[in-house]
């Protein structure tokens, strides 16, 4: 855990800001004009989620959450690549 109270408050503020930023990012998923726009917005949300998980690791003081973030990044990469290839070529692999 981090001892200084200022750092704890700042971490919680940044976590709150990241969660608030998720809401306008999901606007593009709902409204997005084309399919690649929605895919790109989902990719953006996953990137923000990785940041949120790292912030949670800071709040809780547990390092295992960082491994969760790595796993989320790997699965998000595979999903984005396969959907993008499905849009452009009509098949995934």
């Amino acid at each position: 855990m981090i001892e200084s109270a200022i750092a704890q408050t700042a971490i919680r503020l940044v976590l709150l800001g990241l969660v608030i930023v998720l809401i306008p990012a999901s606007y593009r998923v709902v409204v997005g004009e084309t399919l690649p726009d929605r895919l790109q917005a989902v990719d953006l949300i996953t990137t923000l989620l990785i940041g949120i998980i790292v912030m949670l690791a800071l709040v809780e003081g547990t390092e295992v959450f960082v491994d969760m973030a790595v796993a989320l990044a790997a699965f998000a990469f595979i999903g984005t690549i396969s959907i993008a290839r499905y849009i452009s070529e009509g098949r995934t692999f």
């Binding site: 981090i2 200084s4 200022i6 750092a7 700042a10 971490i11 940044v14 800001g17 990241l18 930023v21 306008p24 990012a25 606007y27 593009r28 004009e33 084309t34 399919l35 690649p36 726009d37 895919l39 790109q40 917005a41 990719d43 953006l44 990137t47 923000l48 990785i50 940041g51 790292v54 912030m55 690791a57 800071l58 003081g61 390092e63 960082v66 491994d67 973030a69 790595v70 990044a73 790997a74 998000a76 990469f77 984005t80 690549i81 993008a84 290839r85 849009i87 452009s88 070529e89």
Partner: protein
């Protein structure tokens, strides 16, 4: 204490770039410019957050470094794949417009191509294609007269 302060500054740096990237994704007019804005979140935003976390929690800095390297490797590849899909879609739409605008093949209002594409194309693009189709039909009939 100084290291904690630096970490907090890095965290807010990352949060600022995350917010700016999301703002760009909402406000930018085009798919490719939106991709440009969301690239900032993946590099500057997430890297600020990871740097701040590594400064505040030095025991997990190796895992955070591995996560940063992984994101640095995969994020440009994913962005490139999305950009390629945007480009390919535009090519498909252009081919369809040319196909519909050709005067040799007078397109019926219920052309099978338009039905196939409905699932993939957005509503505005379909509107464009229908308008081009009607324009082609009008010019064709005018040529006959």
């Amino acid at each position: 204490m100084l290291i904690d302060l630096l970490g907090v500054v890095a965290l807010f740096f990352g949060l600022f770039f995350c917010a700016v990237g999301v703002l760009g994704v909402i406000r930018m007019p085009d798919s490719l410019t939106r991709l440009h804005a969301s690239g900032k979140v993946a590099t500057l935003g997430l890297f600020g957050l990871l740097l701040g976390a590594a400064l505040l929690m030095p025991s997990s800095s190796l895992r955070l470094l591995a996560l940063g390297l992984f994101v640095l490797l995969t994020s440009p590849v994913a962005t490139h794949a999305i950009a390629a899909s945007v480009y390919r879609r535009r090519e498909i739409v252009d081919e369809l417009m040319e196909m519909q605008a050709e005067p040799e093949t007078p397109a019926e209002p219920e052309a099978p191509i338009a039905v196939d594409v409905t699932a993939v194309l957005s509503r505005s693009r379909i509107q464009d294609i229908i308008e081009a189709q009607q324009r082609a039909l009008q010019s064709h009939t005018r040529d006959d007269e």
